[in-house]
């Protein structure tokens, strides 16, 4: 009898944990001190954040996409199904026009929607959680200056059980922690700026790292490359392992090469980037040169890591 009671208690405890742990976290308005938004900084965050790459209304011709019309609708293929990117224009009905500042901070830091639901981590809040509060608020202020676009994206098309949002709460317990970026005092201001841009708003590791079966980045192989999220190609290793053996000519990338690549898309061998990196360069080319140099200073300092092996060559 006692054994039974103990067991029942244990089961109840586990159930309670599973009920409580995944409750979506929020940031209350009271946590936001007075702030005078800096729209220019918001634009910088918009560019390094790559918001337009997913949220701008798609066009068959990538060069014709209007970066500031954030009507959403882009289909993101993944091993779990297809995500349809939402409208984040200031439209009050279909976009984020009715969101409060706290709603926006909550979405970027906690991955929780204003309705208190978990957002899917296809929205890279695992990186955005590292953004400084002021930068998030400036970004929100900048987004508010953009044209409202009406229309909603269709619903995500995901396989069970990945479509159960409640389960994302458990995923977050495993993979969402860290909070805002903490600078490393032993490194230069430039390195820290680069580390912040790369790991926070820039979310470089989200594509340049392999993922496990739950779709989370394999921490020990961060930046070591892997299959592209849509499964069609391969994203390169950007630790020294990848950048030193970039081609058969064995051209090592210097920090200067990386900075210039993020500006014009041309690598040290004279080749022009392809795939999703072209879109990324549309973002990084709009940053100030100092930020590109800072990113480069951080990237060349990454520890060498061997990533997964690409499919066999024929």
């Amino acid at each position: 009898m006692r054994k039974l009671t103990l067991m029942a208690a244990a089961v109840a405890l586990v159930c309670a944990l599973f009920w409580v742990l995944p409750i979506p976290a929020t940031v209350p308005a009271s946590a936001l001190p007075p702030h005078a938004p800096d729209i220019d900084n918001g634009r910088t965050m918009f560019n390094i954040g790559g918001c337009a790459s997913c949220h701008a209304t798609p066009n068959k011709d990538a060069e014709k996409v209007e970066r500031t019309r954030l009507g959403g609708g882009l289909a993101l293929q993944s091993p779990f199904g297809t995500f349809y990117v939402p409208n984040i224009s200031p439209d009050p009905a279909d976009g984020i026009g009715n969101w409060s500042e706290a709603d926006f901070v909550t979405a970027l830091w906690k991955g929780t929607s204003p309705h208190g639901r978990h957002l899917f981590p296809a929205f890279p809040y695992t990186s955005y959680q590292h953004m400084e509060l002021a930068d998030v608020r400036d970004l929100f202020a900048y987004l508010k200056t953009l044209p409202p676009v009406s229309g909603r994206a269709r619903r995500h098309d995901l396989a069970f059980p990945f479509n159960v949002r409640r389960l994302i709460g458990l995923w977050k317990v495993l993979y969402l922690h860290g909070g805002p970026f903490r600078p490393d005092p032993s490194q230069s201001a430039q390195w820290n700026r680069g580390a912040y841009l790369v790991n926070g708003p820039g979310h470089c590791a989200e594509c340049h790292s392999p993922r496990n079966f739950l779709g989370a980045i394999v921490a020990s192989e961060r930046f070591a490359g892997g299959p592209s999220p849509d499964g069609k190609g391969w994203v390169p290793n950007i630790t020294p392992v990848g950048l030193q053996h970039w081609s058969k000519e064995d051209i090592a990338w210097s920090a200067k090469d990386i900075a210039s690549f993020l500006g014009d898309g041309m690598n040290p061998a004279g080749d022009f980037a392809g795939g999703a990196m072209v879109e990324t360069i549309r973002n990084t080319s709009k940053l100030g040169a100092a930020d590109r140099t800072a990113i480069a200073a951080y990237i060349v300092s990454l520890p060498p890591r061997q990533g997964p092996k690409p499919p066999p060559k024929k």
Binding site: G265, M266, A269, G270, D271, I281, K313
Partner: protein, 150 residues
């Protein structure tokens, strides 16, 4: 003498055409390789690692224009190549879904390279013209139609 020259020219032409017919994949890879070799020369001049040389600048654009003229014929229906040890890239199947657009991009590259060849006069004009072609023509097409496989 003239006959010999003609004969050799005819044979060379014939062989080139035959190679192109036999193996369009090898032929188009060779064109892209030629582009990359020229681009490397361009990059060195732009970065100031090599002195600017107007003849070399013209050669860069002439090579790109030449590739733009020859390339469209080298992508027969569904000629998908496999990546090799020294070439991690392959043609995307999307090419044959959007063949008109794909060919139009080569036409634009050809026109842009020709205009650049005509207008280049110094390092600054070279920088601007090459940067524009690289970002829009090379990059734009690689974005849609080139896959990195490893």
């Amino acid at each position: 003498m003239i006959r010999t020259v003609f004969a050799i020219a005819a044979i060379t032409l014939g062989v080139t055409a035959a190679v192109a017919q036999q193996d369009p994949i090898a032929a188009r890879k060779a064109l892209m390789k030629a582009n990359a070799d020229q681009a490397k020369i361009a990059v060195a001049m732009i970065k100031g690692e090599a002195p600017f040389d107007l003849d070399k600048a013209h050669k860069v654009f002439a090579t790109l224009e030449d590739a733009a003229t020859k390339a469209p014929a080298l992508f027969p229906q569904n000629s998908i190549d496999q990546p090799t040890a020294d070439d991690p890239y392959s043609a995307s199947p999307d090419i044959w879904q959007n063949l008109e657009d794909f060919k139009a991009r080569f036409a634009k590259l050809g026109a842009d390279a020709k205009a650049a060849d005509a207008s280049v006069k110094d390092l600054d004009s070279f920088k601007a013209a090459f940067g524009n072609i690289g970002k829009n023509d090379c990059g734009g097409c690689h974005e849609k139609y080139r896959l990195k496989k490893s």
